[in-house]
């Protein structure tokens, strides 16, 4: 069974699955995670914003001793990613080998499995980032 009642996770699906943040209607600051009060100007007038998911790696590490619940995934890269809209997001990198990661590496958001609870528990999905896919038109 899940560690907690599913509502604990379910209420965040929107921002977890597709990186929805908030934008201050007053000063325009964009936040992730979403906030009720702007940490720039103090305004309480917020609107939801869909972030593009494009960004650059600001720093990264390789998690070799993960917290419980992530044991099967180790080792995994964890990074601070600066989104093109401004906010920095902490997220795992995926589909990348350790030696490919570098400062400024361009990445894009994908929705992946974050963890699952025991065989009969729920599966949590969320944003991760991978190196921008190389396409033939590039």
């Amino acid at each position: 069974m899940p560690a907690m009642q599913v509502s604990r996770y379910w209420r965040h699906f929107k921002e977890k699955y597709r990186l929805a943040g908030t934008k201050c209607k007053k000063c325009g600051k964009i936040h992730f995670p979403p906030r009720q009060v702007c940490n720039e100007c103090g305004s309480r007038e917020m609107e939801e914003i869909q972030l593009s998911g494009k960004g650059k790696v600001v720093s990264w590490t390789i998690v070799r001793n993960p917290p419980s619940g992530f044991e099967y995934y180790k080792p995994y890269p964890l990074a601070l990613v600066e989104l093109e809209e401004g906010p920095i997001v902490l997220a795992q990198l995926t589909d990348v080998s350790e030696d490919e990661i570098d400062f400024g590496m361009e990445v894009e958001m994908v929705t992946r499995r974050i963890r699952e609870f025991s065989e009969d528990g729920i599966i949590l999905y969320g944003y991760k980032f991978r190196p921008v896919l190389k396409t033939s038109k590039d």
Binding site: R18, Y73, S97, V110, R112, R113, I123, K134, T135
Partner: protein
């Protein structure tokens, strides 16, 4: 008696998108572990440790949306055909709908018919849109197929999928459906019982009475109904559990190799089950010219085939570049050994 399936309104593909995980294992490597030699394909795709049918469907759906250039809120149905549902009970399609921002004004469900669950979803979407019940419906075929370790299915069972947004035929559709046809019998060539990890199959029984009988009859039935011969088609995409079966079917039907090859990917990505023909079609759409006609025949064990005839339209030229192409994913590959493959497939108990 009319056997052709055709809606009142003509419908087409507004957007399509594929996704194939980046990891590959060579059949040779699987053979190293199980002492086998002589392989059905070269290599197959393996899902990442954080991938499953839902995450693959999400990326395919996002690619389809990019090409469709529509607001996800206009989609009235998302149907995912798969036999590797992350949950035995709980839809995969709701996860996709939530992730692409299509909730809550839509229908969502998962379809199961072994490898033809994806085209099952396409058939249903054609009806949903062609009856004008809805403006857009999304059909997805996806799998992260598993073969029993050491079984010959392990050499082909792969991961991948594609999504199609179906809408009324217009200048915005990249191809339209001329008609479709389904051919189904009760033929247990492959199955998986409740609570079992791996499917069972009838070995050579899966060939002639199952795959060939259904694929060939579906293709013939559709061509008869439409009054076409293989000469009328520029491409043909058949379900591809391996390389040999679709090539043999093409030969029996009279399709030359060059019409089959562009949509035959199983040799390098494996059998993506419910995703197989949808991914094959996406590879063809990536290169096809307006006016070209494509035959599309799936096969699902149990057993049945869906056959479609689609004609490429002008919008393909502008839309195909709006999302990564099928080959972009095929070319993005990282080989892993059996130990890592087993980790990705969660074979270790920790």
């Amino acid at each position: 008696m009319k056997r052709l399936l055709k809606p009142i309104k003509d419908v087409g593909i507004v957007g399509y998108g594929a996704y194939i995980p980046m990891y590959r294992i060579k059949d040779e490597e699987i053979g190293r572990v199980w002492g086998a030699n002589g392989f059905p394909i070269q290599e197959k795709s393996v899902p990442g440790i954080d991938e499953d049918a839902a995450t693959i469907a999400i990326e395919a759906a996002r690619n389809a949306l990019k090409r469709a250039k529509i607001n996800p809120q206009e989609i009235r149905a998302i149907w995912t055909g798969t036999e590797s549902k992350p949950y035995a009970v709980k839809p995969t399609s709701t996860i996709v709908a939530q992730a692409i921002g299509a909730t809550p004004d839509l229908d969502a469900a998962d379809f199961e018919f072994a490898c033809k669950a994806g085209t099952e979803a396409v058939q249903t979407a054609i009806g949903f849109v062609g009856s004008r019940m809805a403006k857009y419906a999304m059909a997805i075929g996806v799998d992260t197929a598993q073969g029993r370790p050491g079984d010959h299915l392990e050499f082909t069972a792969a991961a991948g999928g594609a999504a199609y947004i179906i809408g009324e035929k217009s200048d915005e559709t990249v191809a339209y459906f001329e008609g479709s046809y389904s051919y189904v019998t009760d033929t247990p060539d492959f199955w998986r019982r409740q609570h079992e990890h791996y499917p069972r199959h009838g070995n050579r029984f899966t060939g002639e009475p199952a795959y060939f009988r259904h694929v060939i009859n579906a293709a013939k039935g559709l061509m008869e109904e439409l009054g076409y011969t293989p000469n009328d088609f520029d491409y043909a995409v058949f379900h591809q559990p391996n390389v040999k079966f679709p090539l043999t079917a093409a030969k029996i039907l009279g399709f030359p190799m060059e019409k089959v090859k562009p949509g035959l990917l199983s040799g390098i990505i494996g059998n993506t089950y419910a995703g197989a023909t949808l991914v094959g079609i996406s590879a063809v759409l990536d290169i096809a010219k307006p006016g070209e006609r494509i035959l599309w025949v799936s096969f699902g064990s149990g057993a049945g085939s869906d056959a479609f005839s689609i004609v490429v339209q002008d919008a393909i030229e502008e839309k195909r570049d709006l999302a990564p192409k099928t080959w972009d994913y095929i070319n993005r590959k990282k080989y892993i050994d059996y130990a890592l493959y087993a980790k990705h497939r969660r074979k270790y108990i920790i």
